[in-house]
């Protein structure tokens, strides 16, 4: 093999090695950081892993939102019409958080099946319904959301 070819081969090998390493590391990182979405029914049925970051979403149950008087601790419940899951969150809720609205809580399930959220998402739009939540409501046969996506805009 002449030196130029040898050189080229070396470069190509570096590239192949480098990109496969990146690919493996990337996939490992991806696997670790995938947050699956679960509806309240699935959460209640114990389908979600405990102590792993997940996303749970549903409508905030009317009358369920309670606030601690001393700190910024909140509890509220989310539902898809079939099951109710309690959510704990300490911090500032998004502007569009309201009872009856669709939200997504990102956090970990504790041993008693309650969601300890470190993030609560509600979209910056009055009529927004997170697609995951909408899908979950439809599957659970929630009366308001069984027909068409248009029904999701109240």
């Amino acid at each position: 093999m002449n030196p130029v070819r040898k050189n080229r081969l070396r470069i190509v090998l570096y590239i192949v090695f480098g990109s496969s390493l990146a690919a493996v590391l990337g996939l490992l990182a991806l696997d670790e950081n995938m947050n699956y979405f679960y509806s309240p029914v699935e959460l209640a049925a114990g389908k979600a892993p405990v102590n792993k970051t997940i996303r749970g979403g549903g409508l905030v149950v009317v009358g369920s939102h309670q606030r601690d008087t001393k700190s910024l601790a909140n509890t509220f419940s989310i539902t898809d019409g079939q099951a109710i899951i309690k959510v704990h969150f300490t911090g500032i809720l998004p502007d569009l958080f309201r009872e009856g609205q669709g939200v997504i809580a990102v956090g970990k399930l504790n041993a008693s099946g309650e969601l300890m959220a470190d993030q609560v998402l509600a979209k910056h739009d009055e009529n927004y319904m997170p697609p995951e939540v909408e899908g979950a409501l439809k599957q659970a046969g929630h009366p308001d959301y069984s027909s068409s996506p248009a029904a999701a805009t109240n």
Binding site: A22, G26, A29, L30, N33, N35, T69, I92, L93
Partner: protein
């Protein structure tokens, strides 16, 4: 009436773009000079009609014509005039009209500023840009017409612009971003034209470079503005969320950065030709992918526009056509494009190749993280999202690698370099970076942190190696001033861009590790001490804006000794028309730190949930981006891109014949 004129103008522009896509291109095949010459007037016409349409839509907004559906949905008679104007691109339809206008604008710019280029090449480039316009305008006309009327039942007043968009940052963020996205269509068109013509050489790279760099500069500013806007407007002080839509703008930027560097190699040394063409195609395709992700509603994101399946299908089809078509052409033609020169392992070529590899890996990993949720849902129906930790795991290290390579890359010679000599050039920069970085990283009260140390060393390494290179260039000059004047603008542009990168890294690292934040309950009179400052909550009062009402808090900031620093007035706004709440953060900006205060929600008895941040060096992130963009602009102003026609005339004759044979 005005709306109909606008609609009609779009239709005419569409017809002109159809002609533009076909006639000059066929002209180059049939060698019809007249057909080839039609490119420029068609480009002018297309732009002119789209400008008319754009002004017409602006007029509808300014005069509160709520019989136009788009105006009714995104404006209100109480909306201040500047926001009425910016509401043109406040939602999907209008922003896409802006997108089309910009495509036409870039096309026009190519037609005007390419007088000195071979006519066959220009004709092909214009036709391909015309083809892009056909796609965009068809999309506008058939799925997203902003001029649709709500007749006979026109609403009395509009539903108002989304309060989040009623802001200065949002007036300029989308136009800048789109200028960047769409700007990459020019280098894409150059690449396709070169593939069609079968000729890719240093001249081709020289013609493409300024277009790429200027589009990249726009995109840089656009992304920085978006980040800045999210920081102060979303009310929680984050400046980057790895949100799918942010990624959609970041991927073309990374690819565009790789493209700029690879174009440099292609121009100077005539290698990496087919790789450069591939990057050009990839960059534009990623821009289109971004448009698809944002506008089809397939993603959950703060940015995503209202969903309409027809739109998603259309863009997806267009995307597949562009990517598939250009890759097919690439596969057919690229093997013919051979590099003739060689380089050794220790050369600038290799370093720039490594730069490209790092940037490509970064883009690929971001692409995986962004698209994986879509893929998983399509394949298995499971719903998942990929969180920021995924991106944060690899991205900083790739950027550190990139920064380390940068210092060597700007110093090393083209073609071949001796390792020892290189080391003797760079040893002071290396030593300086390690020493100074170590000293500075223990300075802070929080003590020594490994990531901060790495960040500071890397930043200093970039700055010092840039300085080393400039000093080396001046070594043989009679006086420093003479020497500085002899250096070209593109040389300055390059170094300024790299300094900007360093400033940006500095901001990212310091703000990530030295910022402090606290969310807490504060009643009037309550105090918080944070980062050597005392924040006192004085209570709230009602204030009224043009189209909102607000609770305005007052927070006094003093030093621990009691010296006055500033008083901040964050607001919690209620926009009446949309009945929506908005957090308006109050910020005391500074180069080394921002004080950031936002109101959460009222907790009764005058107490509020309050968010208080001390953001160290956060401005450096955007300042760095601006410096990078400025570097790009300087590089484009270099006079070698403005060669007179006389000079080129000779080469043109030869290249013209070459093109006509192709």
């Amino acid at each position: 009436m005005i709306a109909e004129i606008g609609h009609f103008a779009v239709i005419l522009a569409f017809c002109l773009s159809l002609v533009l896509a076909i006639v000059p291109l066929i002209g180059t095949l049939l060698k019809q000079e007249l057909w080839i010459a039609m490119g420029k007037p068609l480009a002018v016409g297309q732009f002119g009609f789209l400008l008319i349409a754009f002004i017409a839509l602006g007029y509808c907004f300014a005069t509160d014509d709520f019989s136009v559906a788009y105006v009714a949905q995104n404006s209100n008679s109480l909306l201040p005039l500047p926001y009425k104007i910016s509401a043109i691109w406040g939602a999907h339809e209008g922003s896409f009209l802006l997108w089309c206008l910009m495509t036409a604008g870039w096309t026009l710019a190519v037609a005007i500023f390419s007088q000195s280029l071979p006519r066959y090449l220009v004709a092909r480039v214009l036709s391909i840009l015309g083809l892009c316009s056909v796609g965009f305008l068809a999309f506008l006309l058939f799925t997203s017409n902003p001029f649709k009327r709500l007749l006979p039942h026109a609403p009395i007043d509009g539903r108002d612009l989304n309060p989040l968009l009623q802001d200065f940052g949002l007036i300029i963020h989308p136009p800048m971003l789109y200028m960047g996205y769409v700007g990459f269509s020019v280098v894409f068109a150059f690449a396709i034209a070169a593939l069609l013509g079968g000729r890719l050489d240093a001249a081709w790279a020289r013609w493409s470079r300024p277009w790429t760099t200027i589009a990249w500069s726009f995109l840089t500013v656009g992304i920085a503005l978006g980040s800045w806007w999210a920081y102060y407007e979303l009310g929680w002080g984050g400046w980057w969320f790895w949100d799918p839509v942010e990624n959609a703008s970041f991927m073309p930027w990374l690819m565009g950065t790789a493209l700029i560097h690879s174009l440099a190699v292609t121009e100077k040394r005539g290698v990496f030709k087919s790789w450069t063409v591939f990057l050009a195609i990839a960059t534009f395709s990623l821009s289109l992918l971004g448009a698809f992700l944002v506008r089809s509603g397939v993603l959950t994101s703060v940015h995503a526009f209202a969903t309409d399946p027809a739109r998603g299908v259309f863009i997806l089809a267009f995307l597949l056509l562009v990517v598939g078509g250009s890759l097919l052409l690439y596969a057919l033609r690229a093997p013919a494009v051979q590099s003739s020169t060689q380089f050794s392992l220790w050369s600038r070529e290799t370093l720039l190749l490594l730069n490209n590899i790092v940037l490509t890996i970064a883009t690929a990993l971001i692409l995986v993280g962004t698209l994986y949720p879509l893929l998983a849902e399509a394949l298995s129906g499971s719903k998942l999202s990929v969180g920021p930790p995924y991106f944060n795991q690899f991205f900083p290290w790739l950027m550190v690698t990139l920064a380390l390579l940068l210092g060597i890359g700007i110093t090393i010679n083209w073609k071949q370099s001796r390792m020892l000599q290189l080391f003797s050039y760079l040893r002071w920069a290396l030593l300086g970076a390690l020493l100074l970085g170590s000293v500075l990283s223990v300075w802070h009260t929080q003590g020594w942190l490994l990531p901060v140390w790495v960040g500071l060393v890397v930043v200093l390494w970039i700055v010092l190696s840039v300085l080393t290179d400039v000093l080396r260039k001046l070594r043989n000059q009679s006086s420093t001033w003479q020497g500085l004047r002899k250096l070209t603008l593109s040389y300055y542009g390059m170094h300024l861009g790299h300094i900007g990168f360093a400033v940006c890294i500095l901001g990212v690292v310091l703000t990530s590790f030295y910022s402090e934040e606290r969310d807490l309950r504060m009643a009037p009179g309550d105090q918080l001490q944070l980062s050597g400052l005392t924040f006192t909550f004085m209570g709230t009062q009602r204030v009224k804006g043009p189209n909102f009402e607000a609770d305005q808090g007052e927070i006094k900031v003093t030093t621990l000794e009691g010296g006055h620093v500033t008083t901040l007035h964050p607001q919690k706004r209620r926009y009446e028309v949309q009945r929506s709440m908005m957090t308006e953060a109050a910020i005391d900006p500074g180069l080394t730190r921002d004080l950031y205060v936002a109101l959460g929600e009222p907790l009764g008895d005058g107490a509020w949930a309050v968010r208080i941040h001390y953001k160290a060096f956060v401005r450096c992130i955007w300042l760095g981006a601006l410096i990078m963009a400025l570097g790009g602009i300087l590089a484009v102003l270099d006079k070698r891109y403005r060669r007179r026609r006389v000079v080129v005339a000779r080469t043109e004759q030869t290249s013209e014949t070459a093109y006509s044979h192709a």
